[in-house]
Symmetry: C2
Subunit: 385 residues, 2 copies
């Protein structure tokens, strides 16, 4: 038998090809294997599209009777946008199923495994669990909290500044870091900035990575709808723009709102709180639009709001070897921290040297634990190998 | 023949054992090698003490006639605190000398090589040059500028803060980082802080590394001599304390000055300039006291003064995975930088993961270039191997 751990890691790589395309669905990768030979590969390609297992089965040109199926996530047993995968698996003649982790979705969460077992299929659970859980941490947050998964992306100097006191920020980090930034955009459903960042940088908020243009949702927080109609975000795909404003802003800016909406821009009024526009309300709206992965690109007050609201899940700090000094603009706004114990701690923090800069990648919230716990609980319910 | 490059790297390691003990002398390592066997090892152990070559020759218990000498720095040809090494080398019977880099000291700078060549010794120059130059960058600055070599040591959060707005800084970085900090102290001739840091942290400013106590000079910048006589810096080895004050401070604090001086504390008045006490004057005083390597430990205004005066040579940024936010105290004070192009750039910047924190190590000034250029110029003057 081929090593299931390595087989599963190959499925994880397959799954990642779907990042940025699956909305509130999880990314999943699967392979059909017989006598050590991989007969078919599949991944979940788009929200509502065929599941990875079905893709892998359909990808096989040879007879798969008696074959093994490897899949990063427990196959579904319920009717969603597609019929239950477990039925197709049983009918396919596959005799053993190797599952990375249990599905955290309570509609499934063990039911898929039970169905397979009850239909005479050997089921083994828990391979490359950490990797299989990691790739669906966004989905786990959605299941557990009903909220989008927010990653903060910050480009700063070594002393934590995102601009000089004059507002100059081009370029604190180099071209390689900015390319990485576009990669992060390409695997996101939406890119969120405050109106100040639109004013300061006039970004397109599109993704240009490896020559491929992508248009994640452009999400702008602008309480008073004071954004300029000539902003670059409206140049391409204005229908991918969502502007969150305060409840009174549309009434006060009737003409601008009409102009923008006539281009297809979505203007959504939400409540305000001590930190500005209410991020929980915004989160609900985004989930309603099937936007799961949101890359938050500043400015400092926006970063602080997400942290203060306990909504920031992950941080990418692109850090250059430049020093700007005290007068510069801070990377993160006010957090009201008195003592070091209260500071925000990034967990599983890693650093990676890019061309000239360094990329820190750390978690504020961890949702993999829930998936790993579920997986551990069900491991013994399965076939004994 | 053994690989001279690797032999030289072993000499570099030997040389490093002298770091922190040689004052304004360079660290040097040497080995005597015959038929591939290392017969003797030596390094320069203390300011004014025997040079590494002599240590290595004296370390041999076997006959060294016809042996090779490896030494990181060109042997000296002039009378300093010790007689010229080249004479001893010629008399020793050594037949070939392999030199890492040429001595940047104009009193020597090729004269050592010439003496050896003129006395019938084969001389080869330029092995592991980068490493051999790197370990004496402090000495090169002293030779080129007559100033101490200043390394800034900063313990900061990921967003560039060294304390919360309340002044709390314990502990931004962890125990492992602090141990590293003590290592850096242990290889320094002096530790420099502003009076504000003494007030805030009340440090001992001693070095406790691997169970060994060391007392580099404790250098305090305190314009108005307002330091408390009960400060921890005076508890042990007050005679290792140097307080720099403004010209009028002693007259205005006669009693305190007398008390401190009676304990052995050195109080040195210097001129002031726009950044505070004149750091060039301070530099001259330190060199006069044979203090070459100075570790600057803050606070933020002191760091900024050294940068603004172009005296900061190297930076160690211990960076933790904590976020403190805008209200926190900045790591580096005001630098007057308007545009990103004007920012201070750290060259050859590396990062190292410690237990929980990350250590950035980068150069502001590079003095190795001068040594490498000299070495390149003299390479062809030597024996052809």
């Amino acid at each position: 038998m081929s090593d299931p751990h390595n087989m599963m890691l190959e499925c994880v790589n397959l799954a990642l090809a779907g990042k940025g395309y699956t909305g509130t669905n999880p990314v999943v990768g699967a392979m059909v294997v017989k006598n050590g030979e991989i007969l078919g590969r599949g991944f979940h390609k788009s929200f509502g599209g065929a599941h990875a297992e079905i893709e892998a089965i359909n990808n096989c040109s040879q007879e798969i009777n008696g074959a093994d199926l490897y899949v990063t996530l427990e196959p579904c047993s319920h009717y969603g946008k597609t019929p239950p995968c477990v039925e197709t698996i049983v009918k396919s003649g596959i005799s053993r199923v190797f599952i990375g982790v249990v599905d955290p979705n309570p509609l499934n969460a063990g039911n898929g495994i039970n169905y397979l077992l009850n239909n005479g299929i050997e089921v083994y659970v828990g391979f490359a669990e950490q990797a299989c859980a990691e790739i669906i941490e966004d989905f786990a947050k959605y299941i557990l909290k009903g909220q989008p998964f927010y990653s903060l992306k910050i480009a700063q100097s070594l002393d934590g500044k995102i601009a000089t006191y004059t507002g100059a920020s081009k370029w604190i980090t180099d071209e390689t870091s900015r390319q990485y930034g576009h990669y992060f955009r390409s695997i996101s459903d939406g890119i969120l900035v405050g109106k100040g960042t639109v004013d300061a940088d006039n970004p397109m908020l599109s993704s240009r990575f490896m020559g491929i243009m992508r248009y994640p949702y452009k999400i702008i927080l602008d309480s008073s709808l004071s954004i300029s109609e000539g902003s670059a975000v409206f140049e391409e795909k204005p229908e991918r723009c969502i502007i969150f404003v305060s409840n009174s802003a549309i009434g006060k800016n009737k003409n601008k709102a009409d102009n923008l909406m006539s281009k297809g821009v979505d203007i959504v009024p939400v409540n305000s709180d001590e930190y500005g526009l209410n991020l929980h309300d915004i989160s609900s709206v985004l989930i309603g639009k099937n936007i799961l992965n949101v890359l938050v690109e500043g400015g400092r007050k926006i970063y602080a709001s997400f942290i203060n609201n306990k909504l920031a899940d992950k941080c990418y700090f692109f850090t250059s070897g430049k020093i700007i000094g005290e007068e510069g603009v801070d990377s993160i706004g006010k957090l009201g921290i008195d003592n070091i114990e209260e500071s925000v701690k990034l967990e599983e923090l890693t650093v990676q040297k890019l061309k000239n800069d360094f990329l820190f990648n750390g978690k504020i919230n961890d949702y993999t634990e829930h998936i790993l716990k579920l997986t551990e609980e069900l491991r013994n319910r399965c076939s004994q190998g």
